[in-house]
């Protein structure tokens, strides 16, 4: 685990959004812009999908058309659904070796440091470019233990029985308008299966890259953790900066079986013209544990509330959410914990930072269903405002249908204090460095939960966001 020790020394890197580079990649197939059943058919045919999936896509699109845009939360009116590419196939097939990935795409991931990270500290890696996974590989030792780690499309081809059993059972297409959109156009994402009792002690990672302007990326990830098994799945994402919007709308479904454990970590760093509207949900069985670690630094609008449904006695759920909202950003994030069985426990910790007019909202649901007696939950949301123009809101929803429960909720909003700044400066620390230190300390409880490499990355991103932010 990382400590402040490892992190705190990262100040002074002078760069802007460093992922703002574009590559000249000619896709092998580009569906025409806009929303229609014809594109759905094209996608399904290219992917050579079973009929039930084709039907699912068409039904999903109809659901999308029938649902109104959400009237709560951030402003989504700038999304022009007719001006988006819903499917863009960058290569003919997914590779297991970087040598076989086309050079210009491989270069992108090299610049992002992904293959290097894979060699150093990952059990497996998937890399998605536009609509498709272009690379997916699992180290042999894990493969030998029966772990399946594939692109979702390959997962469907090779393990149709498993996929069909769980697909859209956790996040149905009708769940929300963007889950329906994903249902119609989904492509890419990961299929992860951890057999009974297998403990994967180093992370699996997926990396998502959008390169094209007006792109819609709709990855679909399914993770099944069998009894007593454990896994940590990490995802990162970036895109170049364009003047018009792109849309990223993923759906993540996770099942954590009896006494199993799953942790899902996101470091979201989309460029600030991406709408990031993601549905992440998990079902947790008896004695099992699910943890969402969600770091949102990029995008113009993010709406994301990872949720945990505790279905068996003694299940545990956690959501650790960190949002950084800068200029022209609205991070509407939080989490949902649903106690549907007795003796379940949960925790939501949300930390948000707003600066330069950015807006961070915590939106969360804590529900204890009838019968979920002796459940415990604690929700803590802290917001830090760096200037007068920025904004923070809290929308906590609490529904308790059982008496014998223990529930705590704390919320705080603080401003970066003149006294704290002066105190640190009076010890020889410059104003920028002092402000970054205070912000670093503010999110420390969350950062220390991350593996070292991601903690360093997260702190570095925050240092970048903090450059010249005070005074």
């Amino acid at each position: 685990m990382a400590t402040q020790n490892d992190l705190q020394s990262l100040e002074g890197v002078k760069e802007g959004y460093q992922y703002d580079f574009r590559d000249d990649v000619t896709p092998v197939f580009k569906a025409k812009k806009g929303l229609n059943h014809e594109v759905v058919d094209q996608i399904s045919s290219i992917k050579n999908e079973p009929e039930w999936m084709r039907q699912f896509r068409h039904e999903s699109l109809d659901i999308f058309f029938s649902k109104p845009m959400p009237t709560w939360g951030p402003d989504l009116s700038a999304i022009d659904f007719d001006d988006i590419y819903y499917y863009l196939r960058p290569t003919e097939k997914q590779e297991k070796s970087w040598d076989d990935v086309p050079d210009n795409i491989k270069n992108t991931f090299d610049r992002l440091g992904i293959p290097e990270a894979e060699r150093k500290y990952l059990a497996g890696l998937g890399a998605q470019y536009e609509s498709e996974m272009v690379y997916h590989s699992l180290h042999e030792q894990w493969e030998d233990m029966g772990i399946i780690f594939l692109g979702m499309d390959d997962g469907l081809q090779q393990h149709e029985d498993i996929v069909r059993e769980y697909f859209s059972t956790i996040v149905p297409a009708a769940d929300n308008k963007f889950a329906a959109l994903n249902g119609a156009f989904w492509s890419g994402g990961s299929f992860v299966y951890i057999p009974k009792g297998v403990q994967v002690d180093i992370p699996l990672q997926a990396y998502f890259r959008i390169n094209t302007e007006n792109m819609g990326q709709f990855e679909r990830t399914m993770i099944i953790v069998e009894e007593g098994a454990s896994v940590h799945y990490v995802e990162g994402c970036t895109a170049p900066v364009y003047s018009s919007t792109s849309l990223h709308s993923g759906v993540i479904e996770i099942i954590v079986k009896k006494n199993a454990r799953c942790r899902y970590t996101t470091i979201q760093n989309w460029s600030t013209d991406v709408y990031n509207l993601v549905t992440q949900r998990s079902i947790v069985e008896e004695g099992a544990s699910m943890e969402w670690v969600d770091g949102n630094l990029g995008s113009t609008v993010t709406m994301k509330y990872p949720s945990v449904y505790m279905m068996g006695p003694g299940a545990h759920g956690e959501v650790l959410s960190m949002a950084f909202a800068g200029h022209n950003q609205h991070q509407d994030t939080g989490g949902k914990v649903i106690h549907a069985a007795p003796y379940t426990s949960s925790k939501i910790v949300s930390k948000s930072i707003s600066k330069d007019g950015g807006r961070a909202s915590y939106r969360g649901l804590l529900k204890v269903a009838k019968g979920a007696h002796h459940s415990k939950s604690n929700v803590v949301c802290d917001a830090l405002l760096l200037d007068e123009e920025s904004r923070s809101d809290t929308y906590p929803y609490i529904e308790i249908e059982e008496d014998e429960v223990s529930v705590g909720h704390e919320a705080s909003v603080s401003k970066i204090g003149e006294e704290q700044l002066f105190y640190l400066m009076s010890r020889g620390i410059s104003e920028d460095e002092a402000a970054a230190m205070i912000v670093g300390g503010f999110i420390e409880p969350l950062v220390k939960e991350l593996p070292m490499e991601y903690a360093v990355e997260l702190n570095r991103l925050i240092q970048l966001q903090m450059e010249g932010s005070i005074g």
Partner: protein
Amino acid sequence: MSVLEIRNLHAGVEGAKILKGVNLTLRSGEIHALMGPNGSGKSTLGYVIAGHPHYQVYDGDILLDGESILDMEADERTKAGIFLAFQYPVAVPGVSVANFLRTAVSNVRGYTDRARENGNNGTIGSNLMPMREFRRELNAKMKEFNVDPSFARRYLNDGFSGGEKKRTEVLQMAMLEPKFAILDESDSGLDIDALRVVADGINKLATPDRGFLLITHYQRILNYVKPDYVSIFYNGRVVQTGGPEVAHMLEERGYGWVEEEFGAEAQPA
């Protein structure tokens, strides 16, 4: 040998005058006690010397070895050798004492600036004092100044007792090695044991190359730290300076007579 000279200093906040013509000279190797009743502006003097942005200087000057420090930011003043031990040290949750101190020491000792000049500040740790060297020094000083080693990992002043905060201030002073230390009521709120530890720390740091301004309301700490000079501060200025006998006189007579003697003429016209 260094000199910190406060010359006819007028300062305040939002138009209100708090300091009304302070004259005071500190020299290396000297301990100067500044005593005065509550509300006389003693703490303001400490803040103004340290460069708190909340206060404005209306007139006069503060000179370190002949150079004005008024245009310097607080961090630059600290790098130049001025240290303020706070009456109420501020908590910074999530930042450990060790990391905070390593950053502070690296700034004050020039590691950070040198890395910046060399364009070498992108690599982790390149702008900081080497970890091993820092750790060795911190451990030694924690031992010397009676700070439990576990404090290195604790978050700065977060949940510290009054005594723990004051001891940590002394530890910071020991690590930053200032030319002049201003101690703002470092004795307040301490029981007798904690007071001894703090006083002991000050005595260890009272070397010939360092000057002290000991701001205090009570004579108590002067039983442990022997001042060379004692000044009485009242209504925003120094009204009398003498040797240790002044402190004993204040202990006997209290501050009431100060008001009688200096109250009327100190009223603003």
